[in-house]
Symmetry: C2
Subunit: 437 residues, 2 copies
């Protein structure tokens, strides 16, 4: 079954907003086993929206429209779908009441315009989820088969352009509805293993035998997972496991077995699953050991601390960070010995200093040259990382039990060098926190 995505909004064409919705939907479609060959952006123009939807229906079986469901005269997706279906719009009393009560619940007066959102093409249904004021739509219709002329069932979905509203509707209703229409009675489930530190070719080499084995089993009709690789920039590579089975329980069992098999092969290269990040993985490991963390940052400028604070609940582990951008701050506040600050020794002293002054069990630090200019004779990309680990509850008092450091030469420009330094530092700490095997 072929599904197209149409993103509606002049602001998308003008580049005022980057259309990340289509990308997200494309990923979900692929995970659900649905093909998607075209994605189109079109402005807030009725004729052109109709033209694009008609074309998509001619090429594909289903169309997901995102955007253009707001309350203003510029929001034309409802009108365009009605035109494509050859029907008029009708007001849903139920939807109108829901919108009115949403505004009342927020203690705000409702502009009359908002009742436009209660309109739907005759024959369309609302999507059950409605996180915002805009209801989503399921609009069945038919088009003649190009060969036989027989009517073929097609469907248009309309979801809002606001990302979280769109995501809730697509995850909650649209994907399952598409799978049902596609006659995909089998359940498709997937899990993503996050890896860091190995290249795609190395992962492919390590997993080659396993992947061959899975192919063989699938050819014999056994319920076997498939494995695919997805790049995610400096954040490493994702290994996506997908299972197709006759029930959710069976799919879950296939995924669980496959995750175990892949983890046995890749070992600690796998740092997490699905929404895990390197910082959430590190925080979990520290929390499990009852340890607190302090950070000393130079070229990263606060990015290590900021990423850690992105994780809700970081406060039971994360004490803070000393961003010692100026050399004197390294000397005065972190107790680094006066001398070169772009050095492995400075990184180690920064980690020890962060552990001590932030009274943390573990200190980590990064120093180096982000560029564009050289510093202390070193090229941009020259980076030193260090970790200083004491026992749980030591709170920075006494010596660290272990100090480790690494020197890196990173490629790219200022921003990339800084981002790569952050993830590398977190990965270095993670390695030291893993149980010895």
């Amino acid at each position: 079954m072929r599904v197209e995505v149409v993103a509606v909004g002049t602001e998308l064409l003008l580049g005022q907003i980057v259309d990340s919705n289509s990308s997200w939907i494309g990923e979900q479609l692929a995970l659900a086993g649905l093909d998607s060959y075209f994605q189109t952006k079109v402005g807030d123009n009725l004729g052109r929206i109709v033209e694009v939807i008609e074309l998509a229906l001619a090429r594909s079986d289903a169309v997901i429209c995102t955007g253009g469901l707001g309350p203003t005269q510029d929001d034309l997706t409802r009108e365009a779908i009605a035109a494509v279906m050859g029907v008029s719009l009708e007001e849903s009393e139920e939807a109108a009441e829901r919108i009115i009560s949403m505004f009342a619940g927020r203690g705000r007066g409702m502009p009359m315009n908002n009742l436009r959102q209660a309109m739907k093409p005759v024959g369309a249904e609302f999507i059950a989820e409605q996180p915002g004021t805009a209801p989503g739509l399921i609009c069945p219709l038919s088009r003649p088969d190009p060969l036989t002329g027989e009517p073929r069932s097609k469907v248009i979905y309309a979801v809002p352009g606001v990302p979280w509203e769109m995501q809730e509707m697509v995850s909650g209703t649209v994907l399952a509805d598409l799978q049902r229409r596609a006659g995909l009675t089998s359940v498709i489930a997937s899990r993503t293993l996050r890896t860091w530190g190995e290249s795609e070719s190395r992962l492919a080499e390590l997993l080659a035998e396993r992947m061959d084995d899975l192919d063989r089993r699938a050819a014999l009709g056994e319920a076997a997972a498939t494995i695919a690789f997805l790049a995610s920039g400096v954040e490493g590579l994702k290994v996506r496991l997908t299972a197709k089975a006759s029930s959710e329980a069976e799919a879950a069992a296939v995924l669980a077995a496959e995750e175990e098999a892949v983890r046995a092969i890749l070992g600690p290269t796998v740092f997490g699953v699905d929404d895990d990040t390197m910082e959430s993985a590190v925080l979990d490991l520290l929390r499990r050991r009852g340890m607190t963390l302090g950070v000393g940052e130079s070229l990263t400028g606060g990015m290590v601390g900021s990423r850690i604070c992105d994780v809700p609940g970081a406060s039971d582990v994360f004490r803070g960070s000393v961003v010692s951008y100026a050399s004197e701050v390294k000397f005065d506040l972190l107790g680094v010995s006066e001398g070169p600050v772009v050095s492995e020794e400075a990184a180690r002293e920064m980690a020890l200093g962060a552990r001590r002054v932030l009274r943390a069990d573990v200190g980590i630090a990064a120093t180096g040259v982000a560029g564009p200019d050289r510093q202390e004779g070193h090229r941009p990309g020259t980076v030193f990382l260090a970790v200083a680990i004491g026992s749980a509850g030591s709170a920075g008092v006494g010596d660290a039990d272990l100090v480790d450091s690494v020197a890196l030469t990173l490629p790219g420009r200022r921003r990339q060098i800084r981002e790569y330094s952050v993830i590398s530092l977190l990965a270095l700490l993670r390695r030291h926190l893993l149980p010895a095997t």
Copy 2:
């Protein structure tokens, strides 16, 4: 003249990469006075790329293809354009030599595949700029006019998917070539004023009279600028000035006069021009006064420092940041009085503490609740900001000359609250650094 954008790459459909290239090109086209009504993403499939380009040529006068110019068998944009033109591909000796010498210059062996990049459709020209190994293409062709049947000139451009390579070619060659073909002999130039702190409706109100006046002058045939607003999320609103004139000098003069007029109306709401950011604006103001900066961060977790360090050359102003996530770090390291830490008083003490311990002339600080949970009884979004300004060269010694603070209630989730806090804090400092008027 209508221009369409076609982004080529299966990874775009699968959501592994978000197609920000189309958005960037869309913005440039709008600035250049060219219409763009459709943007399409298509995978690495020859038949479908040809189909999409044919459709775009039927709807528009020009097509910009981005992506699919790499050296592998998956890179099919060259083949697709040749098919659309009805010609074969030929190797350009000059291009081949250039690619070979690029690899030689980097001291790397060249995979034979890379010579695919020296191929071009017969009748196409290479784009002069070539920042990477992939040359860009200008491919003129004609299509019959749908009404008269007379041949009409059209053009396809092919540029790489790597953003900076694409941008260099589009800015350097494609836009001017399009304007020439469109018969736009006039020069179009634009400038973006960055503003922060006023809503779009307020800006529109303030500039209404000026915009009416510009419309009147344009109607009389005078060289007048146009004004448009672009939202940029928590980063404020952009006011875009565009001038159409008969020469570059005239366009520059119109823009300069318009910038002066708009600045006179909007005053300090304008914090910068074009690529300026709030952090670069703040660093410039501090640098001009010979002042250094220290930061105290709680809920922002290092994001303030990190943004400041994004600006090359920050080191002559920025001393560092103390990320005091745990309350004890606020007490011990920044000298905040023991007690509630989600308070305006704590923010002021943090700013003073950051100024003192980082030995900076100016200290700024943010504390508050990012959520999802309440803290000290305060809801997520409760944020306190403070600045403490001493004289240039005071280096944190002695009292600050001025301490100011504000209490905010910010909407949104964790990430948005933190981002809004950062920009608000930088904006607060900026206001205090502006010369008194």
